[in-house]
Structures are given as C-alpha cells and as structure tokens.
C-alpha cells in the first residue's frame, strides 16, 4: 500500500490527539509560573478556550471532509493567496516541530545527560521520527494507544507511590489569582496544549469511510480535549501536591516532583521512567508536525511521492532546532510571552477567516 493512501480510524485519531496534547506536558512550567497553585483552574479555563477553538475546527472539517488544510486554503483563498497561507502554515508546523525537538533535547541535556552533545540527542530522536514518518501516518496513529497506556500506568503508579508524600494543603489559598493572570495562563494552556490541534486539519482527510460519520469529528475533538485535559489536571495536581511552591520555580516541575517520591528507600528516584514517557509523548508531537510539514510540501508542490522529502527536511529540522533558541530560558520566554499570540494567528485567525469566507461564498452563490 502506498504511504499516502493510508487510512486511519476515528478511534486511532482520537488516541493520537490525546498523545499530542500530552506531548505539551513538558511545557507545564510555562503556565505554572503564571498561575502558581491555581494551575488546575487555568487548565479548566484552557479546556474551555480550546473547546471554542474546537468548534471552529469541527465546522471546517465538516465543510471539507475529504480535504487537507492545504487544499482548503486553495479553495477558500484562491490559488495564489491560498498557496501563501499554506506556506505560512507549513513554516509554522516546521518551526513547531523544531521547537519541540529543541525542548526535549534541552530537557534531556539539562536533567539527565549533561555531558552528551545536544546534536547527538537531537539526531538520535530525529532518526526515529524520520523512520516513523517514512512508514506513514497510519503507523504513528496506531502506535499512540500503546504509549497512552504506558503514560496512564505511569501516572497511576506515581499517584499511588507518591500519595503519602502529597500535601493537599499546597493548593491553599485557592482562587488566589488575578483575572489577568488567569486569562494569561488559561490562554497559554489553550494555545500550547490544545490550540496546536490546528495541525490535525491536515489529517482529517485520512479518516476511513466508517469513521466519517455524521458527528464523528465532534466526538473526536471533544473526547480528546476532555481526556487530554483530565491527564493534564492529574499531572499538575500531583506536581503541586508533591512540591507545592517549588513547582513554579522549576523548569520541569512534574519531573522534579517525582524525584521526591520515596517508598521505604527501595523505590527512589524513578524519574527516569517519567522521562521515558515524556520522550515518547514528544515523539508523537514531533512526528505529527514532521509529517504535516512533509505532506504539506508534497501537496503544495503536487508531488507524487513524499518519502524523498523526509531526509532533507529532517536534517534542516535538526539544525533549526539547534539554532532556534540560545538557551532554555529563551524557550520558556518564547512559550510565555510570544507563542500565545503568535500561535493564535494560525490557530484562530486563519481558521476563522476560512469559515467566514466559506460562508460568504455560500451566501453569494445562493443569491
């Protein structure tokens, strides 16, 4: 079977989207610095915001069930402007993929393997991503459930073993957050964790016929947002309950929280298992962005095959990831200050434009 013709089921897409949300858990610190112990409130706000985003995406996927984002752009904005918007989107996907590659290598370099060169870490991960992208989207989405189960088992394990160390006093004072901070942190959650769903507009065309039911895309979006949000809340609750006020200070609070867990001096310092999970989730994130970039370029240039694009784009991605930020703090700053606005352009502005123009065209045609 050709890689481009692969079809996936709605369930697999949902699983992949949950993994995609969990890939952003490594950036939990960004919203935590703003919301502090009321992070759970910010997450709820972010979920609500993302549900609003989801309405836009649901409408788009319903209007164009067999079209990818690139083709939708061409239809809506016309051939030239559409290509321009598509190019912007491809650059956005590419930069996001590179950024996440940088984030995960930063994490491993600073926390676990300080002496290994960052380039080696990035290269090792990208080889696997390139292999997965070369094998097709079907493989990526099929694999997601396996890692989702790993993640859930790990979170449950952490919750059980760390329960004696948890202090739920840490959540006090409750609602100690200003309105600006709440909106800011909710917006960060909404745009980074859930808003990146815009990339899945590329993949709804890959759904097989049995999953293209009347309300299947609503189901996919709602279930994935809610379960992703649930996992996010559990993780942040564990973090705050374990390390409290220290959480907002640290770069990787969940990871730091697990270091505290100590079961009778036998089960200690098993944060390495968590790092494995974080790596696996970010793997999906990079794969999805990587695949979106590659298939976007294929669509925009109307190429017959895409596998020869994987290697060059992967090489550029490694280099971009190394050049994108000077240091880990710049990443945090970018995620706190710039991305919530820069991401909104792609996550909300263009999709809304697509919707509005589609409706206008419909009106004019009807007259």
């Amino acid at each position: 079977m050709d890689i481009e013709d692969q079809k996936i089921s709605g369930v697999q897409l949902t699983q992949l989207m949950i993994c995609f949300i969990c890939g952003s858990n490594i950036l939990l610190t960004v919203s935590m610095t703003v919301a502090k112990q009321d992070i759970w409130l910010a997450i709820l706000g972010g979920v609500v915001e993302s549900l609003v985003f989801a309405i836009i995406y649901i409408f788009i996927t319903k209007k164009y069930p067999n079209k990818t984002l690139i083709e939708i752009n061409d239809l809506v904005f016309g051939s030239f402007l559409g290509k321009l918007v598509s190019t912007l989107y491809i650059i956005f996907f590419f930069l996001q993929g590179s950024a996440y590659l940088r984030i995960i290598t930063n994490f491993f370099k600073s926390q676990i393997m300080p002496e290994t060169p960052m380039f080696v870490l990035a290269l090792a991960l990208l080889i696997v991503c390139a292999y997965a992208v070369n094998k097709g989207f079907e493989v990526i989405s099929r694999l997601s459930m396996l890692f989702l189960i790993f993640l859930m088992l790990e979170v449950a394990f952490v919750f059980v073993t760390g329960y004696s160390d948890m202090k739920f006093k840490n959540f006090l004072p409750i609602f100690d957050i200003t309105m600006t901070d709440f909106i800011k942190s909710a917006n960060i959650i909404g745009t980074t964790h859930f808003g990146e769903f815009v990339v899945f507009l590329m993949f709804f065309a890959l759904l097989n016929n049995t999953s293209k039911g009347k309300n299947s895309n609503i189901k996919i979006y709602i279930i994935s947002i809610l379960s992703g949000g649930a996992i996010l809340i559990v993780i942040s609750v564990i973090t705050i309950a374990l390390i409290g006020n220290l959480a907002p200070i640290d770069n990787y609070p969940y990871f730091q929280a697990i270091r505290i867990i100590n079961v009778r001096d036998i089960l200690t310092r098993f944060e390495i298992i968590t790092s494995i999970n974080i790596l696996a989730m970010v793997f999906f994130k990079i794969c999805v962005y990587f695949y979106a970039t590659v298939s976007g370029i294929r669509k925009i240039l109307k190429l017959s095959s895409q596998s020869f694009l994987v290697l060059p784009i992967g090489i550029i991605m490694i280099n971009t990831s190394l050049m994108l930020f000077k240091n880990p703090f710049e990443v945090t700053q970018f995620a706190t200050e710039i991305f919530p606005l820069y991401g909104l352009v792609f996550e909300v502005l263009f999709p809304v434009l697509i919707l509005v123009i589609t409706q206008m065209k419909k009106l004019f045609v009807n007259r």
Binding site: S9, V11, Q12, Q15, F108, I112, M113, T116, V120, L121, A124, L125, I127, V128, Y131, A132, N134, K135, G136, V139, I140, R142, L143, M145, L146, D265, I266, T268, R269, F270, I272, S275, I276, L279, A280, F283, S305, S307, F308, L311
Partner: protein
C-alpha cells in the same frame, strides 16, 4: 534514500528476470508413439544410466500378441502391489482378454477398468509427465499400439513414524507431530478437523525437486483475500529446489529486510488445526515436518497449545512471564549498562554499594563487559546446539566454571554482570520464535545503552515498536492486538481468557465467520 535503495532492488529484480528467461530450458513435450519399442528407447534415453530405474517387459494374452512394459523406480514403489495387483492379473488372470481381445476392444481401457486392481490409476500421453510420475514413485505401464500410458499409483517408501516433536514439547496435549511425508501430514490435520470445508489445494514448486506443497484452509472461516494472496505468492516462486519449508517462508514473507519473521510455523497438527480454525492458512511442504501458517501475528509466538488445554489462570500468568522474558532477554543487559553508566541514582543505595564493591577493579567499561559476555554466551549456545550430546557436558562445565567463576575471581568481569547475563540467557530460551531477532537486538541495545543511556534505549524501543507496527503479514497488521489496538483480541494476548469467554475468533484476522461458540458458554449447574 529509501527510494534509491528500492530502485536498485527493482533494477536487480528486472535484470535477474531477463537472465532467467534466456536461460530457460527449452522443453519439447514428447508424445507417445504407437510403436512400443520406440517409446521404450525414448524413455531409456531420457533416464540414462540410472541403475534404480526398472523396466519390466512382458506379454499379455493367450497368443502373446500384446506387448506391455512396466517402468518404476526401485525402492520408491510397493513391490507387493506390483506383483499382486498388476503383474499377476495381467499374466495369469487374463480370462477377460481371452474372449474380448478379438472383438477389437480398447485394450488399455479394459486393463484400466477390469484387470489392474489398484485404487489410483490415470491415463497419460506425454512422456515427460509419465517420467515425472515415475520419479514420484508411481508405476508407468505402456501398452503396444496405444499412444497413452497408464500411471498406477504404487508409491511407498521408508518413512519416519509419527513421533513426539522435539521442539514444541507439552505436558498436556497430543504428543503426535508431523513427519516428512505430506500425505500423512494432511491426514493428521484431516483427523483433527472433520469438515468438508477443510480444503487442501495441491501445488508443485521447484523446477528440479517438484516438491509437493499443499495450501490448507477452512472455507467459510478464512478470509478469501488471504488465500488468494498465498496462492499468488506461491505461484510467483521460480526456484530449482525446495528442500524445506524455510525456502518457501523466505520467498513469500512480507518483510524480507526485517529482523522479525512474518510467517509462523509449527510441528504439531493440533496447533496447525487451531490456527486454521482461527482463520489462518497453512502451507504444508513435502519433505519436512515444519508446516507454515500465515498470516502471523507478533503475539502468536508466545502462545503454546497447552495454554488452551489447561485452565486459564495459571496459563495467563505464564503468558505474562513469557512476554516478560522476551523483554528481559532484549533489555536486561542494556538497561543494566545504562543504569551503572548513567543513572546510578535509580539503583537503591544499599544495592548500589554492593555493586560498586563488586565492580571495583574491573578494567573494562560496563558496555564492553556486557558485550563480551553476551557474545561468549552466544558462542556457548551455538556450541551446545551443534555438539554431540556427550561433549555437551564438557561445554557446560567450561561455560559455568571457567567463564562464570574464573572471570569473576580474576576480576575481569563483575559478578552482577554475570548474574544479569545469566538471567538474560535463561530468558532468551523461552521465546523460540523471536529468539533469533532478540539476540541481535540485545547486542544493538547494549551499544545504544552504553552510549546514550536510558534516552538511547527509549529511542531504540520506539524504533522497534514503529518497525513492528509498520509490518504486515499477508495484509494483516503484524502487531495487531496492541497497535492497532484491538480491545476484543486482548483476551488472547498477554493473558488467556477462559474458553467460555473467547466465543469469537480473533477480529484481527478478519475471519468470514467469527462465531466460535455460543455467546453464553459459561458452564452451569443443573
């Protein structure tokens, strides 16, 4: 890059195809003539100097007017059948011929229908086919003035009796195993499944060996697409010899570049029957007791027929142990290397001190130590397999005492490493099917773990999982109950659910008829 390699392979394929066409032997189909002397001389010419090729000429009838010639290969035929059922009636009991011969009856038809008392008998006019059937153990009879010969099935040769197979040993369950004879193998399956829908389709593969191959499946259960795919791939094989089913396996498998096998095999008729009842196709090859089954799923290699014959609870536990042992056999040395090299904090402190003491004074890094020990183990194992049994004991003494005890005492290898390698070695014996891919993966993971620690091992694990997920066996996803996640099939994967719960055939194999037993089969009291 992949495209480039693919193109190269295609080019090689094309080239070899052209080559094959030019080298093809031009075979002229020689027909029988009416002159029996000419026929005999042609056959003699083709068979050449073969000493075991017997030609028996005799006359039929009262006036000795009809010449008959018998051809067979000595040792491949049953002599008593030839003597009692062919020669004796033709030479002595010719009362029929006496009266009928003058009425210009078709002699060969009469011989076929009324005189020769053998079950399987056919008319054939091509000399090539006659010789071919002669070579498979049949007896050929030529009658003067007729352009058709009789092929009388008399095949019988010395064969191994049905024994308990050496590999798939069970405590509970049938003891019989397949033999080298394809007929007795099909009978063994037929005796398990008494159903007219059980189909055996015959083929011959191999230009020179003309090996008999049977495709077996159960109509109405199996997905027809799989059967067609199997036939297509078997038909594509152009090879001079098929000596074992492994030849076929390597020529029809989906992923020839993969470490993992995508064709299953078994030596036991009950296992093959069970697999066919789940919707698989069996490929039985003459001359080998190993029967292939396709499509194969990754988890299949952890199943044993005994799992279903014994009660489910302990067997589920054993299944988990088997999966665990594969994980241990691949990852234990590499994880140990990664922990001691990069992530010492994970090891509990008292254990870490013990290990530090044990490792003190060992000259090599953990990665090299593990690598050398694993290679040593592989050497020992190969030696143990190949050597005759009495020498095998010497190997175990050398392995255990010299390599195990002495290296630790001499301070070359640390004792925790020996323990880990020993555990790995024991675990590697449990999964026979994936054992060979596991031995290679183990070495690769040791290197990755030594260089990149847990990060590298995770990346390697993801790589292997992506690879497993991308594999397909005859259109069926290889890693099926796990990825794609098929919840209903999990009842026969890591655990083995009670039989009364498994009332549907595995969904992953897309059987036509998925009902296995009635929905509510829980045993009930009166």
């Amino acid at each position: 890059m992949f495209k480039f390699v693919k193109n190269k392979i295609n080019a090689i394929k094309l080239f070899s195809k052209n080559n094959e066409d030019s080298n093809k032997e031009i075979k002229v189909d020689i027909k029988l003539t009416t002159n029996i002397d000419k026929n005999i001389s042609i056959i003699k010419e083709i068979m050449g100097l073969n000493k075991d090729f017997i030609i028996r000429e005799f006359f039929l009838g009262e006036r000795k007017s009809i010449r008959i010639a018998l051809f067979y290969i000595d040792g491949m035929v049953e002599k008593t059948t030839i003597n009692q059922s062919i020669l004796k009636p033709l030479m002595y009991d010719v009362w029929m011929i006496k009266s009928d011969i003058n009425q210009n009856l078709n002699t060969i038809e009469t011989i076929k229908k009324t005189i020769v008392s053998v079950g399987d008998i056919e008319l054939e006019s091509s000399i090539n086919l006659l010789i071919e059937s002669c070579l498979t153990g049949n007896t050929v009879m030529l009658v003067d003035k007729y352009t058709e010969g009789l092929v009388i099935s008399t095949a019988a040769w010395v064969a191994r009796a049905i024994e308990e197979p050496k590999t798939e040993v069970v405590v509970r369950g049938p003891r019989e195993g397949f033999t080298e004879n394809i007929t007795s193998n099909t009978v063994l399956i037929r005796r398990k499944i008494c159903d007219p829908n059980l189909i055996f389709e015959a083929m011959k593969i191999g230009v020179r060996t003309k090996t008999k191959v049977a495709i077996a499946y159960i109509n109405g259960i199996v997905d027809k697409k799989i059967v067609d795919e199997v036939k297509l791939r078997l038909g594509r094989i152009k090879i001079d010899a098929v000596l074992e089913s492994g030849y076929i396996e390597q020529l029809i498998e989906d992923a020839p570049f993969s470490l993992f096998t995508t064709v299953g095999n078994s030596e036991k008729p009950d296992v093959v029957a069970a697999k066919m009842l789940e919707g698989r196709v069996a490929i039985i090859t003459d001359g080998t007791p190993i029967v292939l089954t396709v499509p194969m799923l990754f988890g299949e290699s952890f199943h044993s027929s005994e799992d279903y014959y014994s009660r489910p609870y302990y067997m589920s536990f054993v299944r988990i142990i088997r999966y665990l042992s594969l994980i241990i056999s691949i990852f234990a040395p590499s994880v140990f290397v990664a922990l001691t090299t990069f992530h010492q904090e994970v090891i509990p402190t008292p254990l870490f001190f013990t290990m530090a003491v044990a490792r003190e004074g060992t000259p090599f890094p953990a990665m090299l130590e593990a690598f050398v020990m694993i290679v040593t183990f592989e050497i020992l194992r190969e030696a143990g397999v190949r050597l005759p049994r009495p020498v095998g004991q010497a190997i175990s003494i050398v392995g255990a005492l010299v390599i195990g005890e002495a290296t630790v005492q001499a301070g070359i290898v640390s004792s925790p490493m020996v323990i880990v390698v020993a555990l790995t070695a024991i675990a590697s014996f449990i999964s026979v099917v994936h054992g060979d891919s596991a031995s290679i993966l183990r070495l690769i993971f040791i290197i990755i773990g030594g260089i990149l620690g847990a990060y590298g091992i995770t990346i390697g694990l993801i790589f292997v999982l992506v690879h497993l997920t991308s594999l397909r066996s005859f259109g069926i996803p290889y890693f099926a109950p796990f990825a794609p996640f098929v919840a209903s099939d999990l009842k026969d994967s890591i655990i083995r659910a009670p039989l009364w719960l498994m009332n549907r055939r595995p969904y992953s194999l897309r059987p036509e008829n998925s009902q296995r037993e009635k929905a509510n089969s829980l045993p009930q009291k009166q």
